[in-house]
């Protein structure tokens, strides 16, 4: 046979004791990133809705930013799935022949609904800006002309910027943001259901999984938005240093206030996870022996040191200690983001760390240096690509929809 024999999973799986011959770590780093990215999208959107729906004036600049940022994150949430599929060209099949008994079948529908909501909300937010640009760029050379043509297309002929029309825009934004919150939560709880409903996997199968996923998604989304808010505000403070109207940088009041929400969701997430763990230990079903050996043995550092310790406990203390500073908040937020990533890792990779035979283990070795497409896609290279893309997209989108202008 002239084909190169590539058994999916064999490259990065090391087996120990008895594992069925066909068992490998089939879901690897990209499936870790998929719920992580979806969670960030959902969290960013929820944060922007705080302003649009509940009128939190103090986060106005952040709301606009997180909305555009969630647009940049949107295509990236599907990227891990495309990179993971063995037949990426058939990615549209679930839309052609959805098989609704499958938890994945409706992903395209839920996801596109959500994408439509985000895009239309952005359109309503920026419509006035489009019209202003069409006026401002009139007769200013070829480049400006091209840009003006783009804005004309984006405005879709809705050029009315009377007070009445703008008020209607605002109302539409409010409604869309209101619908968006449950859809964002559904999108992510749904990702949790994909795992929680796999009855063959002793670690995944739990009705708490969707709820745990939503809680940790909101935690990671708020953390990312707070972090980027701090970075942007501090950056603009540096840039405008010495100017007459000095910009104050990130406001610690706002950070403290937002961190209270973060802590609330963090407590909910941890409580549910611990409850799940205690329940498994107490009921001690057939799978508990191997689960215990994985959780308290093989994955102890990943679960208890990195996820619960560094990712939950340390930032929890840092944020709760009195007189919160920006620097301390930054450290805590980075740790929170890391903790949520480790949680996804421990669910996806940890769930495949033991054999279905309950008599052996599988160890995952992330391919670092790729030697073919497969080891790139499912290795460090693919993971970094997914990690960098939202920022590149955001840079591009920001050229057309400036979201960083402080009002």
């Amino acid at each position: 046979m002239t084909h190169e024999l590539f058994v999916h999973g064999a490259e990065w799986t090391v087996k120990e004791f008895f594992v069925y011959p066909n068992e490998f770590i089939y879901w690897s780093i990209q499936i870790v990133l998929y719920p992580y990215m979806t969670g960030l999208v959902a969290g960013a959107f929820v944060l922007s809705s705080l302003y649009h729906v509940f009128g939190q004036q103090d986060i106005k600049d952040m709301a606009r930013f997180s909305l555009v940022f969630s647009l940049a994150l949107l295509p990236v949430a599907t990227m891990p799935l495309l990179m993971h599929l063995q037949q990426p060209l058939r990615a549209g099949n679930p839309l052609f022949t959805p098989h609704f008994t499958s938890a994945i079948a409706a992903f395209g529908i839920v996801f596109s609904t959500y994408a439509l909501i985000v895009m239309s909300e952005i359109w309503f937010v920026y419509r006035k800006y489009f019209v202003e640009q069409i006026e401002a760029l009139k007769g200013k050379g070829a480049v400006a002309g091209a840009k003006r043509a783009l804005y004309r297309v984006l405005a879709m002929g809705a050029l009315d910027v009377s007070d009445e029309a703008v008020a209607k825009d605002k109302k539409a934004v409010k409604i869309l943001a209101g619908i968006g919150i449950p859809v964002a939560c559904f999108l992510h709880g749904y990702a949790g259901f994909i795992f929680g409903s796999v009855k063959a996997n002793a670690l995944w199968m739990s009705p708490l999984m969707p709820v745990i996923f939503i809680m940790s998604a909101v935690v990671s989304g708020i953390a990312l938005c707070m972090l980027t808010y701090i970075v942007i505000m501090e950056w603009s403070k540096l840039r405008h240093k010495g100017e007459a109207a000095e910009i104050g940088g990130a406001e610690i009041d706002l950070i403290t206030k937002t961190s209270r929400y973060l802590l609330g969701f963090l407590i909910a997430a941890i409580t549910l996870e611990i409850l799940d763990l205690i329940f498994r230990g107490y009921t001690a079903m057939k799978s508990w022996d191997i689960l215990r050996s994985v959780m308290y043995g093989k994955d102890f550092v990943n679960i208890f040191v990195l996820q619960y310790g560094c990712g939950n406990l340390v930032p929890f203390i840092l944020l709760l200690m009195p007189r919160l500073t920006i620097r301390r908040a930054v450290v805590a937020l980075v740790l929170v983001l890391f903790g949520v990533f480790m949680m996804r890792w421990n669910v996806v990779i940890g769930g495949q760390a033991f054999s279905l035979s309950f008599a052996g283990y599988m160890h995952y070795h992330l391919p670092v240096i790729p030697h073919n497409v497969e080891t790139f896609k499912e290795g460090l290279g693919g993971a970094l690509l997914v990690g960098i893309t939202p920022f590149v997209l955001f840079w591009g989108i920001n050229k057309v929809l400036p979201s960083l202008k402080t009002s």
Partner: protein, 257 residues
């Protein structure tokens, strides 16, 4: 002007919704078709019987299967395999299945360990293959319906439609599924559907020199396999998952995973 744009948007929206509805939603089944789809044709239900007491672990079944079904011979994946169980005096169970048992069990080593024969209290072989479940978890989770159950109970995969997400591989409690190294889609034992639907037996059944593997029609009470299942003490693997497996075992031990 604004009014006509509104109409345009309205109609565009309706068009988009209509275009996105799958045409299958509008297909009406006749009662006969619905009956066939739900309950099967009623004449045939393929089942499998493994007599573990007869298996010597020669691996001929694995070889024959790989040849017959074009699963690359040296790839570490296989549609069927044989496990060796060695139980020692200390109550421990040692299990292995090197290359799925393809080349037989010629080494005294079980996994990494060499077990002195006097320590062994019992040892036996267990052939495994797809259980062609009555309630298959893999079919339930396929997002595109590329894997399906035929009217005679066999679960098949449409290689031209599988997207390769691996959800079915994750959902199977028996670990019988894998990605085909060449076709890059989900792959599994089909009871040699291309053979049994033409009146032949599966490649593994034909290759087994000891009659440890047998296939039969569970709906035919005169079928020797069905008779054996009805009259002897048989067991299935992992019935706690509610998948209703249709591969029956004679002489199954509680150590079997």
């Amino acid at each position: 002007m604004s009014c006509s744009r509104r109409d345009l948007l309205k109609k565009a929206m309706c068009g988009a919704v209509a275009a996105s509805l799958p045409l299958t939603m509008f297909r009406f089944l006749s009662p006969a078709q619905a009956q066939a789809a739900v309950a099967g044709s009623g004449k045939v239900r393929w089942g499998f019987l493994v007599d573990t007491r007869k298996c010597v672990g020669c691996g001929f079944c694995v070889k024959a299967c790989k040849m017959e079904n074009e699963v690359p011979y040296d790839a570490p994946v296989t549609r069927t395999w044989v496990e060796r169980y060695v139980v020692t005096r200390d109550g421990k169970t040692h299990i292995d299945s090197p290359l799925g048992g393809r080349d037989g069990f010629v080494s005294q080593k079980v996994g990494e360990e060499t077990i002195p024969p006097e320590e062994i209290t019992k040892a036996f072989f267990v052939p495994k293959l797809c259980n062609q479940c009555d309630n298959p978890a893999c079919v339930q989770v396929c997002p595109v319906g590329a894997t399906f159950q035929t009217n005679d109970g066999v679960v098949l995969i449409d290689r031209t439609w599988c997207i390769g997400c691996g959800y079915c591989i994750m959902a199977c409690p028996y670990g019988v599924r894998f990605f085909h190294p060449i076709y890059k889609v989900a792959e599994k034992c089909t009871f040699c559907y291309h053979r049994i639907s033409k009146g032949m037996v599966t490649a593994c059944v034909q290759a087994c020199p000891f009659g440890a593997r047998r296939i039969g029609n569970l709906k035919d009470p005169n079928d020797p396999v069905t008779r054996a299942i009805m009259t002897e003490r048989v067991a299935v693997l992992k019935d706690e998952y509610g998948t209703k497996p249709q591969v029956f075992y004679i002489g199954l031990d509680s150590n079997v995973r």
